[in-house]
């Protein structure tokens, strides 16, 4: 026998009456904090403070280890030593592994053992650790659902709801788990929109870390520009894509003190996966880009894309190399940009382009995986839909930066 919904609730009512006793409820400090952080008047300033604190911690932590330690280690000791002892100067192997023999820093050398290791270990690793440490504390404390409640109204304007902020925040660490997290959204429309917007507009932690090194004064501008793009194109996608955007009821859990055990464990799992999946891609990316350069393929590509890159986006044609690398690793691409001769404004435009342009291969694979729910047709929809959105965004939103520089007279 099966019960109807009403019968089941009636039964539960009877069971609960016989088994549960409610004592006097004490309003605790925890409850007071819980309420203050969801009420808009107090909650929004608190949210801004939390996010600003997150950002400050990220910059300070990553900067401390990268500038204070790794830059010195790699530029003053590792690079000169490798250039000195590595045999076969001028040969292909030397070029691929050590890079430019005259370079005096690890951004410009662009060898696998120099720039590759420096980007992965020296810049991105501290950034990743800083980011996840703070994120894990946010996750475990129970603050994320409260942020979701606060931002609900804003996200409704683009056909999503507050809980979509969770994939957004996760995405700032890595787009891959963020795309997976879109599964908690109700409709296919919402999932597709969110996955696409994340993959296009949200830079990952690795990329943020390297941006802090390459364009320290402009990271804020790039972030705001990308976020505005997120909402503008979210608004447009919401109008274009058929489907529902239902309201949800969100369970806001009580605050918990994060346990050291869980924080340690999660940090370890994420850092380990950075070592096993990200670092090989960074190193491989350096090798591929160097091979393409050595065979002359990159120069050929640069000439082919020169009209678009120089004409439409106003960046040097050499940025084609980083744009290729961006498909493998965005952090590597930004590092590579720093070695190309151009104005600061062109550099900022290029960084925006690297962010918007093609999701990295891991995210791409995840998009295909998420599309699979609809069979081959679903994969095709996800892929071509995302690609179409991406191409439009790159040209419009990427071109707009160029236009802004022209209007300001700095292009």
């Amino acid at each position: 026998m099966k019960l109807s919904v009403d019968e089941r609730w009636d039964l539960i009512d009877k069971i609960a009456k016989q088994t549960v006793k409610y004592g006097v409820y004490r309003h605790t400090l925890k409850d007071a904090i819980a309420e203050l952080t969801v009420k808009p008047l107090t909650g929004i300033p608190f949210a801004i403070a939390v996010l600003y604190g997150f950002w400050s911690f990220f910059c300070a932590f990553a900067g401390f280890f990268t500038d204070g330690f790794f830059v010195k280690l790699f530029d003053n000791y590792w690079l000169p030593w490798l250039q000195e002892v590595f045999p076969g100067k001028g040969g292909w192997v030397y070029y691929i592994l050590v890079g430019d023999p005259t370079a005096d820093n690890c951004f410009e050398a662009f060898g696998m053992l120099t720039s590759g290791l420096f980007v992965a270990i020296g810049v991105v690793l501290p950034a990743i650790i800083a980011f996840y440490l703070f994120l894990i504390i946010l996750e475990d404390s129970g603050y994320l659902p409260r942020l979701a409640v606060l931002i609900d109204t804003a996200l409704h304007k683009i056909g999503l709801h507050g809980f979509a902020v969770v994939p957004m925040i996760l995405s700032l660490g890595c787009n891959v788990p963020a795309v997976a997290a879109t599964r908690t959204l109700e409709t296919r429309k919402q999932r597709f929109m969110m996955a696409t917007l994340l993959a296009i507009f949200i830079p990952c932690g690795a990329q943020l870390g390297i941006m802090l090194e390459v364009i320290p004064g402009y990271v804020g501008f790039v972030m705001i520009y990308l976020l505005v793009g997120f909402f503008v194109f979210g608004f447009i996608l919401n109008k274009l894509i058929p489907g529902r955007s239902p309201e949800i009821l969100l369970d806001v859990p009580p605050y918990h003190m994060p346990t050291a055990r869980n924080v340690r464990r999660k940090l370890w799992v994420r850092v380990r996966s950075f070592f096993t999946t990200a670092i090989p891609f960074v190193l491989l990316g350096v090798v591929i880009v160097n091979l393409m350069y050595l065979t002359g393929f990159l120069d050929w590509l640069a000439d082919v894309f020169e009209p678009i890159l120089c004409g439409w986006f106003g960046v040097p044609k050499e940025t084609v190399g980083p744009l290729i690398a961006a498909f493998l690793r965005k952090d590597l691409a930004v590092a590579q940009l720093s070695a190309i001769e151009m104005t600061t404004y062109q550099l900022v435009t290029s960084v925006v382009l690297v962010s918007l342009y093609f999701p990295c291969v891991a995210t791409f694979a995840m998009l295909i995986k998420e599309g699979r729910e609809g069979g081959w047709k679903g994969v095709a929809q996800y892929l071509f839909g995302s690609l179409a959105a991406l191409i439009v965004v790159v040209f419009l939103w990427g071109g707009l930066v160029h236009l802004i520089w022209i209007i300001l007279g700095v292009a």
């Binding site: 019960l3 019968e7 609960a16 088994t19």
Partner: protein, 176 residues
């Protein structure tokens, strides 16, 4: 035999899973941390038994893709024992899913998780009485500290399919 860990979002299924298997799946304090299932193994009476951490779901009528995965896992594992993890503070809501699973004919063990939070809130559940009415093992647990997990494991073998009519009778009937 297989064991499925099921329950509402954010009741601590992944924490129970990590306790039972020694695995390191992600535990967080927001609903929807687990969006796909994870398989693991635990020792039960000298044998390795497969256990699956299932995404949270409110009922057996899925509302999103993560819930679809949960319902699919249940349907695909007809021979499974289900450990139904319930947030002790929200017993009624948790029982809804537990009853649905019992009605489907699965043997169920109930873990009343976050027992400490319920105590803090002055909510007292008569575990013996609840066991008596439901006819399934009910164990208070605090997964993050590991409390009650041993007892939970030791009582898995007591789980057997229960006729819902028996539960209705014990509870004093339902209004039609």
């Amino acid at each position: 035999m297989k064991i499925l860990l099921m329950g509402h979002p954010n009741v601590g299924k992944s924490a129970v899973f990590n306790r039972l298997t020694g695995a390191k799946v992600t535990e967080s304090n927001y609903p929807g941390t687990t969006v796909d299932y994870t398989k693991g193994y635990m020792r039960l009476e000298g044998k390795d038994v497969e256990i699956i951490d299932v995404p949270g779901t409110f009922s057996l009528e899925p509302k999103d893709k993560a819930e679809e995965v949960a319902v699919k896992m249940l349907k695909e594992n007809k021979d499974a024992v289900v450990i139904c993890v319930i947030d002790s503070v929200k017993l009624e809501r948790g029982l809804y899913l537990a009853l649905e699973i019992i009605e489907e004919g699965y043997p169920v063990v109930i873990a009343l998780n976050m027992w400490d939070v319920a105590e803090d809130k002055n909510i007292w559940i008569d575990v013996e009485k609840l066991e008596d009415i439901l006819g399934v093992p009910v164990v208070p647990t605090i997964a993050v500290s590991g409390k009650g997990i041993k007892e939970l494991v030791s009582r898995i073998k007591e789980a057997s399919p229960i006729d819902i009519e028996k539960i209705v009778e014990k509870a004093g009937g339902v209004e039609q």
